[in-house]
Symmetry: C2
Subunit: 421 residues, 2 copies
Amino acid sequence: MQNTFALRGNLVYTPACGELALHPHSYLVCENGALAGIFDTLPARYAGIPVEDHGDKLILPGLVDLHAHAGQFAYRGLGMDLELLDWLEQNAFPEESKFADPHYAEAAYRLFADALTRSATTRFCLFATLHRPATLRLMALLEAAGLRGFVGKVNMDRNSPDTLRETTAESLAETCRWLEESADFAHVRPMLTPRFIPSCTDEMMAGLGRLQREFGAPMQSHLSENLSEIAWVAELCPGTRFYGEAYARHGLFGGACPTVMAHCVWSGEEERALMKENGVFIAHCPQSNMNVSSGIAPVRQFLREGQHVGLGSDVAGGAHLSIFRAMTDAIQASKLRWRLVDQDLPALTMPEALYMATKGGGAFFGKVGSFEPGYELDAVVLDDAALPTTRPCTLAERVERVVYLSDGQPCAKYVAGRRLF
Amino acid sequence: MQNTFALRGNLVYTPACGELALHPHSYLVCENGALAGIFDTLPARYAGIPVEDHGDKLILPGLVDLHAHAGQFAYRGLGMDLELLDWLEQNAFPEESKFADPHYAEAAYRLFADALTRSATTRFCLFATLHRPATLRLMALLEAAGLRGFVGKVNMDRNSPDTLRETTAESLAETCRWLEESADFAHVRPMLTPRFIPSCTDEMMAGLGRLQREFGAPMQSHLSENLSEIAWVAELCPGTRFYGEAYARHGLFGGACPTVMAHCVWSGEEERALMKENGVFIAHCPQSNMNVSSGIAPVRQFLREGQHVGLGSDVAGGAHLSIFRAMTDAIQASKLRWRLVDQDLPALTMPEALYMATKGGGAFFGKVGSFEPGYELDAVVLDDAALPTTRPCTLAERVERVVYLSDGQPCAKYVAGRRLF
C-alpha cells in the first residue's frame, strides 16, 4: 500500500463525449500513479492510506494542451492585428530566432515552464524552436517541473528568414542528434515537428519520415489552418489533392506514426476521411483561429465522424495558456459557426468541451484524461470560493462557472499520481 | 490650486477612432475633476501641486460599460449552453425575480458593486430589475463607491413569468416614483429601461414616452439582437418596417431622448440610418452575442457610418465584467465576421477597440473617455509587472498585452478626478 493514497473532494470527469460524471464529496484512490476507483466512502481495504482532503473544492482531470508554441510565449497578446502569414513574418520568426542564444532561451523557457506549471494543464504537445540545445533545455525544465508530454525541435528549410532556417542536411542531422539526446528524459518525450509544409522541402519531409520509422517518435504539425496557407501548399505540392497528402506521402500522417495536427479549420471530406482512417488527432485551437483570422473548425462534424479531437491553446496565436479559456472559446466559436455558417452543426456544450480538454486530447498519451479505473492520475483541484455568488449552484454549475470565470490556476495539481503543489 | 493635482505615468488614450496617443512618463494635470493638460515636465504654474507618481505603470482613461445587467451578475458563466429566448426563461427571469426580496438584492448587488469597483470600468449604463426598492439600493451602492453612470428600473408587462411582470399602470406608477426618488443621487442617475419590445405593451411604451418627456431621463433597451427575437417583434408590432420603429414611434429612439441600444447585431440599413439620424448609441456586446448565439454585429459598418459605438459586457449574457475582455472579444469576433461573412468589412484593431471602450462609449456621458483638455478625469492605472516577458515592448505593445492578458483590475482608479483606490 506504499504508493496508495486517496483524494477527497467533488470529483467531476467525462467518461464519454457530452457525458458528465459527478461524484460529490467522494474518494478517488490512486495506486502506483493510476486510478483504482472512486468511492462514496473509503472501502475497508484502503483503511489507513493517506487521504488528501480537498473539502468542498472541485477536482477535475488535468487538462491537455494538444498544441502550443513554447518559443512564442514571450509575445502572447502582441501583434494580434495581423493575419497568419504576416503574423508569422513579423512576430513569430523574429522571436523564435532569439532562441539561438542559450541565455535568452533559458530566461524565456523558465517563464513558460513556470506558467505551464501553475496552469491546470498536465499534458501537452509543444513546439519549441529550430534550436536543439534550447529545445533540450525546455524539455529539462518541464521534466523537472513534473509535467508530462511531448516537445518538438522545429524543422524549417525553406520560406523562412535567414535567422530561422537550416539546410536540409543540417536540420535532419540536428534532429537525429536531438532524438538521441532526448533519451535523458523519462516523461518529456521528443516529437517530430516539421513546422508546416511551406517551411519544409520534400527532401526534409522524406528525411523526417525515415527518422520517424527509425526512432518511432510521434509527430505534430499544422494542417489546413488558413485559406491563403492552403493555397500556398497546393502550389508547393503539385499532385496533392489536399493538404494532408503532403504529409501522408512521407508516412507522416497518423497510422504507424501517432500524429497531432493543429487547426484543421478547412479540412475537406477527403482529408477528414484520411485523418479518421489513420487516427490522426486534431488539436482544435479556437482562439488562435480567431486571432489570426483563420475561421472556425467544424468540431461538431469531427465529433460526429468519431475523429480524435483535443484542444490547443496555440500560444502565441492564442494569447492564453489556459485550456479552460480554450474550452469556452471552442463553445463560443461553435455557436457563431452554427449561426453564421452551418445550422446543421449545433454548438458544442460545456460537457463536450470538457471531454475534449481532458479525455479527448488525453487519449494521445494513453489512458489519460479521465477518472475511470486504470487511468493515470492527472488531477487539478479548483477553489471556486474566490468567485462568490448569491445563486446556489449544483456541482455541474460550479464546474461551468470555474471554466468561464476562473484564471485557470488550480490550488493543487497531480500528474501521474505525483503532487506538484 | 486646491483641487489641482497631477498623475504621472505612461499615459495612453485615443483622441480619435483608431488613433493612439502615447505620452511616456508624462504628467496629467487635473483641475476640479477635469483634465487641464498633459505635459512632459510639470509647468512652473503647477509647482507645488500634489503629484501621484505611478512610475512605469500604464494610465488609461477609465473604461465605459454601455450595457450590463446588474441583476444577472449572480449567474454569470452559468447556463451558457442555451440560446437567447430559452436562456431568458431559464436563467434571467428566475434570478431577477429574487430581487423582490430586499435582503437578496442587498447581498447580490453588494457583490456586483464590489466587482465593478475593482474593475477598470468607471462609467456605465446598467439594467437593474423590475423592483424599485432594489434598484434604488443598487444606485446607492454605486454612488457610495464613487462610480458614475445610469441605472434603470426595468419595465415588463407582458410575455414574462408571473413572478416578473407588472401591470402597465403599476409599472408606470413605480417608474414615476423611482424617478422622483432618484433625486437623492448626484452621480448615479436613472435611465428608462423597457426590457425589450416583447416584454412591453404599446400602452407601456407610450407611458414611458410620456415619462421621458416629463423627466428628461435617457433611455436604454435591446435592439435587433437575435433573429428569433426580431421575428417575434415583427409579429407583435404590425406596421413597423424594422425593430427600431417599435421604439421610435413612442419617441424612445434617440433625438431628444438620449438612447443606448444594446446589440444591433442584425440592424438593417433603414434602422441604422435612423440610429445615425437620431444619435442613438450602440452598445456592442460581442461576448454575449457569442454566448447566446446571436451573431456578430457589423461594427466596422457602424464606424464607417459615423454611428456612436461603445462596448458592453452584457453580464450575464457575457460572463465577464471586464471591458478589456469586451475589447478583445470585439476584435476576435470582427475577424471571424470578416472571414466568414463579409470581406468588405475589415477586422477591428486594438486602437479602435480602445476608442470604443473609452471615448466612443464615454461620449454618452459628456466629455468622458479621453485625456484631452476639458475631459472629466476618469483614469485607471495598470501594472503589467505581473505579466513578465523576455520580449522588450513598446508602450503601445504594453497596452495590447494588458488588454489581452490582465485580469482587468487596475491598481488605482479615478472617477471625475476623485481617487477611489
